[in-house]
Amino acid sequence: MIKFEKFTLENGLRVLVHEDKSTPMAVVNVLYDVGAKDENPEKTGFAHLFEHLMFGGSVNIPIYDEPLQSAGGENNAYTTNDLTNYYCQLPAENIETAFWLESDRMLSLAFGKKSLEVQRKVVCEEFKEHYINKPYGDVMHKLLNLVYTTHPYRWMTIGASLKHVEDATLADVKAFFKKHYNPSNAILTVAGNVDVAQIKILVQKWFGTIPAGEKYNRSLPVEPKQTAPRTLEVKADVPLDALYKCWHIYPRVDDRYYTADLISDILSGGGSSRLYQSLVKEQKLFSSLDCGHMGSTDAGIMIIEGKLVKGVDIKIAEAAINEELKKLKQTGITDTELEKVKNKTESALAFEDMSVMNRASSIAMYELLGDAELMNNELDKYRAVTAQDILEQSNIIFDENNCSTMYYLSNN
């Protein structure tokens, strides 16, 4: 049970405070409700590029990092398809430094031309390092394009192409800031060795005077229901053939999401999971095999991905996966299996909550989903899933008309 107090400023900024007196540290986490899904399809990669620019100085503070480091702090940020999250951890005594820095960049950025030029290059190198200069680096790019026809989840956070990043202009940056970086579009979480009363005063002092700005109303194109199987075959300079199969699942707050999550654990969570035991250990068709999903806010996808043992025919490997799914669809799971994946979830949630940084970002994340209190109900939601739910959902999710399959074959 994670306790917190919530209040909202007049400008719309939502604030959540979680006290933990056992640590000498404090965490200040600012989540902006903007992700790659909010980008113009012709200007992708922008939310992430913008995250880099948020460190290029703000209206009253030329450099973000130095004052924070001087206060003994550390910070970072990440962008997903759904959100952009900035966090810093510092000794609790110095927490006001974080308020000063974060409020100033919410107020206004410095918008330097040089900063944009450099960060464009840095992001291009990041793009190369992770998505070009690596075997299988373009897999997600290809897969998302296959699975999504309409919803902006069809492009990756880093951007659909290097060119989109290279072409970003200062005018784009300014417009993006104005549209998304408003108090009403943000969630501030403060956690650690702090007092709610003290935080209320500091929040009012530093964030209270920031103009509310215009509230951004999201209206994203809806992904139409997939009605036929999709396939793609790719040849690449990689040493091993790889197989990817994905299915549309549910939005993060849908009750069926929890069933889908447990299904992925049954298939591949741990050494005793079905796919690993059958296809890696017994049949020796794959050298690695995973089933996972993105946990995205809007309806996401479940992915099974595996690298084939050299010499195995990909059609045979695929048939073996389908056979395992058929078993699941026909006979469901045992009570022991269900208890196993629920226990695993209970354990994972407890380990996740160990660090105050994780607690701070989780609180923000659940608030973004609608209510931070949701995080304290997660285990109950998993506990409520029945074997019957798993059986039903396996049949709905693993319908061949809901499936996209990619063969990623070795050229050698």
Binding site: M25, T97, S347, F351, S355
Partner: protein
């Protein structure tokens, strides 16, 4: 009206009194030492068994790693599947890792399930059988993984720079090729298991919310085995660094980036320069605001990231600079790396920057002391390196008190281009 140009006052982080929570110590009946940190709000637990069973001790390549991995793949009483199923059923994980001197088996679990899981670990350490079939799967999958890794410039760069520094026969410089995996056999693994696990030297580190009977639980499951207390000393093997300092490898004709590694041998933690050099390294390339990062990423945009660090070895170490930079700017990047060394040698670090680095480092340590797993990690590092808590407090002292003149002297001693090996892999 709030003046946003003025920074709020800060407490100087160097004024903090940092305190490393002491561990509880006890010995099992067979003398195996247990270091325990009981802390934390969550009902979770980590138990790490450290064996002196790293690749220092193997006669044939990859045997130490294979033995370590296969510990969970079948005993006389449980199949690999049964072991996995039980660990999974209780939501726990039992991971293995093989390093140079040591190899570990680590359990992460909710505290309430500890008693049900330790007997499995006892079984793994007593009755492992190492079936040929399990070894074959391990070999095949390890080779497949290697074939993918070998296509990555950064992977190739990482193993080659170690080879230049230590020589290919030294445990720090060696690496496994497909043929080495092919050559592993069950007899070698069984012999290694018998000598280094069943009759090995072991130390145990536990942290988290400890069950009240943790001492009995550990004694019951590990105190009656033929294990002995380690001496925490491993005899070093002589290194044979290569003569040639500059190397260039073409690994991938389509590469768009080069993996750059620049490195020199460096003494270990026991050397008097070590703690102060950590401060120098932080200024030079050890954090986001470092000289290398500010210049090569934040000013020039040549790379997504550049870091320097001292390797975490028990014997000889190395001081490394590592980055992946655009193919067209690799030469320029290397030039800037040396240019920054020259500045470190010639110009004393100014007080403002040094003060920032001190605060940053102390704040970082404060953050690293948060929670039982972090605390035990600090202790493990101290104990396995045959040091004591004085090392922790001396390191803090070095951060707080090393002056610009001392840093410059260290830069003049170590940050000399001719001392470095240089490697670029496209």
């Amino acid at each position: 009206m709030l003046n946003r140009t003025i920074a709020p006052p800060i407490t100087d982080a160097t004024d903090y009194k940092l305190h490393l929570k002491p561990y509880d110590f006890f010995s099992l009946d067979n003398g195996v030492p247990v270091y325990a940190v009981d802390a934390g709000a969550q009902d979770v637990l980590q138990i790490e068994l450290v064996f002196y069973a790293g690749n220092f001790f193997e006669k044939n390549k990859a045997v130490a790693a294979a033995t370590n991995f296969l510990l969970k793949n079948g005993t006389t009483t449980r199949t690999a599947f049964q072991l996995n199923e039980t660990f999974d059923y209780y939501g726990s994980s039992c991971s293995r890792a093989c390093y140079n001197e040591t190899a570990t088996i680590t359990l992460h679990t909710l505290s309430k399930h500890t008693d049900k899981l330790l007997p499995l670990m006892n079984d793994m350490l007593t009755n492992s059988i190492f079936l040929q079939e399990e070894l074959d799967i391990f070999k095949q999958n390890a080779k497949q993984r290697l074939s993918v890794n070998l296509q990555k410039c950064e992977f190739v760069a990482g193993r080659m720079i170690d080879q230049y520094l230590y020589g290919e026969r030294h445990p720090y410089g060696t690496f496994n090729n497909a043929a080495d995996y092919d050559a592993i056999n069950v007899e070698d693994i069984k012999a290694f298991y018998k000598q280094y696990y069943q009759n090995g030297h072991c130390a145990i580190f536990v942290a988290g919310k400890l069950p009240a009977n943790i001492q009995e639980l550990l004694n019951e499951n590990f105190g009656k085995l033929q294990l002995t207390k380690p001496t925490f000393v491993v005899n070093n093997i002589i290194t044979t660094p290569t003569e040639q300092k500059k190397h260039f490898i073409t690994n991938d004709e389509n590469a768009v980036q080069g993996a750059i590694r620049i490195a020199q041998p460096f003494p270990n933690r026991h050397h008097e320069d070590f703690k102060k050099t950590i401060v120098l390294n932080t200024v030079y390339g050890g954090y986001f605001g470092s000289r290398l990062m500010s210049n090569i990423r934040e000013d020039k945009g040549y790379t997504y990231g550049i870091h320097s660090y001292i390797q975490n070895h028990m014997q000889e170490c190395a001081w490394l600079i590592a980055t992946e930079a655009g193919k067209d700017v690799c030469d320029a990047t290397i030039e800037e790396i040396y240019k920054e060394m020259k500045i470190m040698r010639e110009v004393p670090v100014e007080e403002e920057e040094l003060s920032l680095v001190r605060n940053y480092m102390i704040g970082g340590i404060l953050g690293e002391l948060d929670g039982p797993f972090h605390i035990i990690a600090k202790w493990k590092n101290i104990i396995l390196n045959n040091l004591d808590e004085k090392y922790f407090y001396d390191s803090i002292d070095a951060i707080k008190n090393t002056g610009a003149d001392e840093l410059q002297a260290l830069a003049q001693k170590y940050l000399q281009p001719e001392r470095f090996y240089e490697l670029v892999v496209y």
